[in-house]
Symmetry: C2
Amino acid sequence: MRRDIFQAIADPTRRAILTLIALQAMTPNAIAEHFDTTRQAVSKHLRILTECELIKQEQKGREIYYQLEIDKMKEVDKWIAQFRKIWEARFNQLDNLLLTIKTGEEK
Amino acid sequence: MRRDIFQAIADPTRRAILTLIALQAMTPNAIAEHFDTTRQAVSKHLRILTECELIKQEQKGREIYYQLEIDKMKEVDKWIAQFRKIWEARFNQLDNLLLTIKTGEEK
DNA sequence: TATATTTGCAACTAATTGGTTTCACAACTT
DNA sequence: AAGTTGTGAAACCAATTAGTTGCAAATATA
């Protein structure tokens, strides 16, 4: 069973769940109300997100509050960083080019 | 057939392909040499990446060079941004707290 | 204690996935 | 013209996925 963050965020419902609980922890029932699916299906998504540590549970009586483990998100950010480095470098090149053109015009 | 970037980068081989061609365009054969799989399997990955516009082709004689469409990567970055905003806010809160403690000590 | 609520888990199903083998076609080379 | 090389696409297969329904366990309420 492959269980990494990239596979976890591949599903649109799971991405929506992460956005939903980003600001405040919620119970499975409350989460399920936001989607056109059964509570059990949401429960399965929550299990997958828990397994790859993108969320964590906090039991309160018979309710379980799920909340985002935001630090785990940094792993995706880290992978994207290699590409960000490239597009920022290109942006700076373009910037220098424009500056060169401008300086040329002023002469 | 769902075909979005998140589903595309869910596969580890596809992520490796993206990293591989990030700096220079490559042919399917050259790419396949880096993986323990057939050229045809790589070809299928390239098709998926092309369909969601993460890469583009450039024909040169009978060879086809695949190169990264880096701008498309920004869409993932954009989704991550909502979470980055949160962890940066928390970092600043912590920073302020430390500053408050320090200031308190100086009194 | 009996009942309702909140939840996770197992079993099943249809669709999708990533891989393979085989083939066809176009472009170079001899 | 004949053979080689680089490539995509089709047909098939095993594994995985996301969903369903049904059930069991634990906690709250009457």
